[in-house]
């Protein structure tokens, strides 16, 4: 039962094969059993069972919808009224938000059951889930390896089927990269598609929340619930939300898939490349037409991002001053010392590094050389995609240059860590929707992810292209040993 996708669970609930309470208890038990993965920071069994009982009652009254009574986990970056939201940080270790994020409200309204809050890199800054104050998340495929980040807990939870689905957030790849490393499906919607209200801010012009699932179909079901204009998010775009499941089964004849030459060049691990090549062959069999495209400014996406994201983070994280919420130092003299001690004690080293780089880039005398320059590069990167989409409908490539690495391998050199985001980052800079779907394994049994990039607000087509691949392959059904 725990191996079923959301769509399958909905059918099982409708057929009364299981109740939401039984289903919820099943997942709560699995979470407890696999505690060593460290995928969860907070589990609230009582609250989950209350929600499950309400869902069963709703179903009894004939009022159940497609997601009613299905358990899910939230990345610990979404504010949940009454349940701790730590953002993976000591700064918010005891923070209980007095309100729900819009995403949380919408998912509750769809009748889903919240199992708990998943582990993540601190303040979403990281690509391995090693910067979490609560310890790293282990990769269910091999506990010596990282789960990826920053939504590592959500990725590991879904991969190990501790939850059938989870929410994540993606600023430079934080949904897609852990999805790739853990062998699951992840979707970062177009910027402005999903409300950021109540989603703790890292980089406001790049952050987007999205679903992490077993299948593209499940991602479509979740996106239906998560997406939509929100008055309370000043960057929310007033774009109609289609039924993202409607186009799923359309065949791919005539669909043009762009292959950027820069994504298949040096730096890409040979085995990852081989898996992606096999997927390309599969897409050709499905009737899609491959088109060579070029994204010439790709190489500068990483430097550009590592100015913009830290700069925005330095501004967003200035609210953590120990005054109204979050960690306040135990000892301090004057106000300045209170600020400095609270912040230095509350934040981990990667967060401090990024705040420092961001502060530097925005400081007097450096703004033009760094921040402004990065915004100009951002324009060029976005224009590369616009040009590429003149000759193709969807872009395809590897999600990451290599498969999961060992815990501790990259944590001493931040720049090495930053380079693992090389294929995902441009997508956030351009604001486009992007997905990672499982596309096989390397010779060591580590999952490989395939990235699909869509046009702005083109999630329906993106999901269709992903779904077609999943009808012709079964990588997304595989499970790590020890969790079956």
């Amino acid at each position: 039962m725990f191996k079923k996708s959301v769509a399958e669970l909905a059918a099982a609930l409708a057929a009364k094969e299981i109740s939401s309470v039984e289903l919820t208890q099943l997942f709560l038990d699995r979470i407890g059993q696999h505690d060593a993965l460290n995928a969860f920071i907070t589990v609230d069994g009582e609250r989950a069972l209350d929600q499950a009982r309400a869902a069963d009652a709703l179903r009894g009254d004939g009022k159940a919808g497609p997601l009613t009574g299905i358990p899910l986990a939230h990345k610990d970056i979404f504010c949940t009224d009454g349940i701790r939201t730590s953002c993976g940080s000591h700064m918010l270790e005891n923070f209980v938000a007095p309100y729900d994020a819009t995403v949380v409200k919408k998912i509750d309204a769809a009748g889903m059951v919240t199992l708990g809050k998943t582990n993540m890199d601190e303040f979403a800054m990281g690509s391995s889930n090693e910067t979490s104050y609560f310890g790293p998340v282990l990769n269910p495929w091999d506990p010596k390896l990282v789960s990826g980040g920053s939504s590592g807990g959500s990725a590991a939870a879904v991969a190990a089927r501790l939850a059938p689905v989870a929410t994540g957030t993606d600023t430079g790849g934080s949904i897609r990269q852990p999805a790739a490393l853990c062998g699951i499906t992840g979707l970062k919607p177009s910027y402005g598609r999903v409300s950021r209200y109540g989603m703790i801010a890292f980089a406001s012009s790049l952050d987007q929340g999205g679903p992490m699932t077993q299948t593209a179909e499940d991602a479509a079901l979740l996106l239906n619930a998560m997406a939509g204009f929100d008055e309370r998010d000043s960057t929310s775009v007033n774009e109609a939300v289609p039924d993202f499941t409607a186009q799923l089964d359309q065949d791919l004849k005539g669909v043009r898939i762009g292959l950027p030459k820069e994504y298949f060049a040096e730096g890409l691990d040979a085995e990852v490349g081989a898996a992606i090549d096999k997927a390309i062959e599969e897409y050709k069999r499905l009737g899609a037409e491959m088109v060579d495209v070029s994204l010439p400014n790709s190489g500068l996406a990483v430097p550009c991002y590592y100015v913009l994201a830290p700069a925005e983070a330095s501004s967003n994280l200035s609210r953590y001053d120990g005054v109204r919420y979050g960690h306040r130092a135990g000892e301090y003299g004057d106000l300045l010392e209170m600020y400095e001690r609270s912040r230095s004690e509350g934040f981990g080293s990667e967060v401090k590094r990024r705040i420092m780089i961001g502060t530097y880039a925005l400081s007097a005398g450096y703004y033009d050389a760094y921040y402004l320059k990065a915004q100009q590069l951002r324009r060029l990167i976005a224009e590369d995609f616009t040009r590429a989409f003149e000759t193709c409908d969807v872009i395809l490539g590897p999600t990451t240059p290599a498969t999961a690495f060992a815990i501790g391998d990259k944590s001493s050199d931040p720049v090495a860590m930053y380079l693992s985001d090389i294929y995902t980052i441009s997508v956030n800079l351009a604001g486009l929707p992007g997905m990672s779907v499982p596309a096989g394994f390397d010779s060591a049994g580590r999952p490989v992810g395939l990235q699909l990039i869509g046009q702005y607000f083109g999630e329906a087509q993106l999901l269709n292209v992903a779904h077609a691949y999943q009808q012709a392959s079964d990588w997304h059904r595989r499970m790590p040993q020890g969790y079956e």
Binding site: N94, F95, V96, P98, Y191, G192, S205, S234, T235, V237, N297, G299, L300, V302, P303, Y306, V307, S314, S318, D321, G322, V323, R324, Y325, R328, D334, L335, E337, Y339, E340, R341, R343, S344, F347, K352, R353, I355, M356, I357, T359, Y360, A361, S363, Y370, K373, A374, Q375, Q376, L377, R378, R379, L380, A382, D413, P414, V415, Y418, G431, L432, Y456
Partner: protein, 95 residues
Amino acid sequence: MSIDVTEVRRIAHLARLRLDEQELAGYADTLSRILGLIEQMNEVDTTGVNPMAHPLDMELRLRADAVTETDQRDKFQEIAPATEAGLYLVPRVIE
């Protein structure tokens, strides 16, 4: 370009972070490495390129200047480190 310890102290002060002497050298080194990565941006000539802040070049939406929030001060202050009479307590600022 590299960042020296004096510069690290300046940045830390701007960011309201307290670093001890041993940490300063480490930060100078790491930040210099990150700067090395960032400076690759100079490989591209961006003269005349319009900076991009938002994928749709959207302007900030305005709303009516009307009160929509309700008073939830007690609820919000449940999680505050120190309060008194509805105010947040901090060290004395004005002599």
